[in-house]
Amino acid sequence: MRNLRCDVLVIGSGPAGLAAAYQARECGARDVLVIERNAELGGILPQCIHNGFGVRVFQSDLTGPEYVARWARMAAEAGVRTLTRTMVLAIESSPDGARRRVIATSGADGMLAIEPTALVLAMGCRERPRGALAIPGLRPAGVYTAGTAQRLVNIEGYMPGERHVILGSGDIGMIMARRLTLEGARVEAMCEILPYVSGLRRNLVQCVMDYDIPLHLSTTVIDVAGRERVESVTIAQVDAAWRPIAGTERVLPCDTLLLSVGLIPENELSRAAGVMIDPVTGGPVVDQAGATSVPGVYAAGNVVHVYDLVDDVTASALRAGRSAAGCACCTLLAESCELPVTAGENVHHVVPQRVRLPLVPEEGATLELRVRQPVEKAVRVRLSADGDVLLNKRLRYVRPSEMIGLALQPEWNERLTSAGGLQVDVEEA
């Protein structure tokens, strides 16, 4: 086993990993290493060939490959080292809990043991697999997750099928509906069990409506037929409790079923390392700088909670990279106190789950939250500390698909020192 040392080790080279590594170098960490299991840097972005990336970060509308190429260049110029085709297997703690050792394996170097001063988790997320869905029937070929289909079509260059049905209306599913249509295949239908689309409205317009793809809300797939290969699926409308309504069944002939039913943060490594996981988000419990419950371990990007915009992923990674560098240079304040953040009325979750005081301007602390239920009229997003209202933000509508950001103001420090916690509520205005 080869032994390596570094100041900051980043696991994963998606937009989160690259930005965290870049920022750690910019903030003074001497030796920053990124480990990536794939042959190329970039995480999920090389297969996201559509545009819509970087509008806030670079003020330009880039495709996934262009966005990630910029960050790879910036990281390289900042002196970040990278190891591709290398997979992290475990994160071990020293008996006193003060130090971390990362075990990785690579085709070229065999086993590696790396002792970083600070560690950034940036492993992204994976798709909810088919097994998580209760679709009965045989298991014929022709059932893919939307992201796998995206990889087949955009990287490997072959089509999953000729006639597709898409279950779920997440962004990847909608983007694939357009992609398959552009490649000359047919998308017979998109079915969503919820009464509203679960991805972004802009994707509904430019990926589904622009191409006249039939969209069925409050509808699910109840059966998949076919022995070797999918031959048809049966769809049915559902009631409020998601039970199929008898008499609404329809058989749609098709050869391929794509699943776009959500993403889950990839945290097997974090869990095994003793990092506290939030059962609601599926990601580590963090503070505003991405610090997890394990000292010296930070997290950023989709590994924390699923983002819809890459610009927000990058912002979270810049915060985590900065604090990882601070940890590596031992300049972090030892004395600080923490406030828990509670998801109140119509709030599904809030990240960070705890806020460390005092708030400092350079940190750019932001609360990121999603609502449980869409409200298609004016609402107020209220941030309070033990009933003391800090912020009352008016929005024209809220939807679970659109993350809401609330900037935390350092001028609140005094009001927060005696508080027991923060809470966010979303109510009709």
Binding site: I49, E66, G157, L182, G184, R202, V205, D210
Partner: protein, 123 residues
């Protein structure tokens, strides 16, 4: 006749919900756009909608069989399928440079198709 119409601006990922009052193809007033580009978007939607096109073309001699490409500017919405079908027959030879023109003035639209990434040559 004046009518109220709803638009989702697709110019950037913010995806503003715009309520517009229009008369035929003429825009009278609008609310909900967070920037001026939303006004241009609605005007174009009423007359000649355009969209960005992103797709892939085949490459010979690289580690990957495809290179992702995009239109340099939005193209007429009604011609997206036709342009995508045309690009399915294009084959490039590696190496490919980022932003290399893959197909100039595609189908006479005045818009170039460019590569979204670089691909090295492997022999």
């Amino acid at each position: 006749m004046e009518e109220q119409r709803h638009f989702v601006c697709v110019t950037c990922p913010v995806g503003c919900n715009i309520e517009a009052k229009v008369r035929g193809t003429e825009l009278l007033t609008l609310v909900g756009n967070r920037c001026a580009r939303g006004v241009d978007f609605v005007k174009e939607e009423l007359t000649a909608p355009r969209r960005m096109l992103t797709t892939t073309v085949r490459v010979r001699g690289a580690a990957l069989p495809l290179v992702p490409v995009r239109s340099e500017a939005p193209v007429p919405k009604g011609r997206l399928l036709e342009i995508a079908a045309h690009l399915r027959d294009v084959v490039l030879d590696a190496p490919v440079a980022e932003h290399q023109v893959v197909c100039a003035d595609v189908l006479g639209t005045g818009v170039d198709i460019i590569a979204s990434r670089a691909l090295e040559r492997v022999d």
